[in-house]
Symmetry: C2
Subunit: 238 residues, 2 copies
């Protein structure tokens, strides 16, 4: 994969024979315009391939066949690129419909799946995420919970709680994505069975079914939530 000189492939060389050929070419600006969308899409590719460490303004520019400073006309800083990349992948999360508990489950599961497809993303949620895709899904989540009867502080606790639960889950799971990391971690634990009897007895970092584990935890949470609807000091005043 050559990163340079793929500028549309016709600028001089063997294509120069036809007279008047200029008019047959679209104007360059249309052909390979450097748009924000292209920048973000390429950034996501780079992140998927090599993680956060792999995204470099210089590498990004190279992949786009452009000089590094050019990026700064379209973007203010590298952090901008990261923020845009995060919002971009949220477009992959379908917004569901149906009864609240199913819809919430569906949204949350798809949300998690998307983050796991892009393992670089969970830590990046430690930055303000206010892109349209993120907000649209948050709006839906809170809307579903509100329609379920949550109000006030209960609603806020449910919304943030669910979001935090997915994010935290994706963060730790993406940590243990590689089997070898899990393997050495387990060995480390087993070698210290005296210090960590419970963890070892229950094979804490086993190569388990993380999906099922998450769904189980989610269901516990939803159950606790459903039980809390309408109770408490906020939504049921005297």
């Amino acid at each position: 994969m050559d990163a340079k000189g793929n500028r549309a492939g016709g600028r001089g060389g063997r294509s120069g024979g036809v007279p008047g050929e200029v008019w047959l070419r679209e104007p360059r600006a249309r052909r390979d315009a450097l748009t924000l969308d292209r920048i973000v899409a390429t950034a996501v590719d780079l992140l998927d391939a090599d993680g956060v460490a792999g995204l470099t303004m210089r590498r990004l520019a190279d992949r786009l066949a452009v000089a590094p400073p050019t990026l700064y006309w379209h973007v203010k800083t590298k952090d901008d690129v990261l923020d845009l990349a995060v919002d971009a992948i949220f477009a992959e999360v379908p917004v569901p419909s149906g009864p609240w508990r199913d819809a919430v489950r569906e949204l949350v599961l798809a949300w998690r799946a998307t983050m796991l497809r892009h393992p670089w993303s969970p830590p990046l949620l430690g930055r303000p995420a206010l892109g349209p895709n993120v907000l649209e899904r948050t709006e839906f989540l809170q809307g579903a919970l509100a329609s379920a009867g949550f109000t006030g502080a209960h609603l806020a606790a449910a919304t943030h709680g669910l979001a935090n639960f997915v994010i935290g889950s994706a963060l730790t799971q993406s940590t243990w994505h590689s089997p070898e990391a899990l393997g050495t971690a387990r060995a480390h634990l087993r070698a210290r069975a005296d210090d960590y009897p419970t963890l070892v007895a229950n094979d804490h970092l086993a190569d388990q079914d993380w999906d099922a584990l998450f769904e189980r935890g989610l269901d516990h949470f939803l159950t606790g939530l459903a039980q809390g609807i309408g109770s408490g000091p906020v939504s049921s005043p005297p």
Copy 2:
């Protein structure tokens, strides 16, 4: 705060008058030995002051009055320093005692408080955390849950679920720590009330009591958990 030349303050200059003074000084190696502990403690200081971006091997070396390459005798890579720093702050989390639900609540709340005191830490949990302090607290958490009657997949779901919930919560809360970030975010939302009616109506990113919000969510989760003890396919076989 001068970062250089604080090597014990007596090497030349006004202290050279006393004859035989060499013998009164402790050997240099004892006085300001560069230990792993000092490196990690200084790293935590740097992280607390300026965040992850503020921790640089060169700045760290400077603060320790040492040449940058020296650090690489004590540490293999910068990531080592980060991993050690994360484990170091977990020492601040007291390991509680008492009935399981209270103990779990206590641990989880202290855990969260510590992360919020060191806002750089939540994103770093996206790396394998196997230090003794982290493991000791995880062992305690799982032990408390096991003593409460959780077994098998329920136990794993409870342990990971709680950990993920705290981590996720600390991650997002540390994002919105600064009032100005919250302020502009709210303004951004309010300006788009048509797109995000629920979020705006419920003042999603209000400057709320995050502690109370977290405890509410935690209680929902614990309620859901307590209800799940002993049920399900794993812990109650036919």
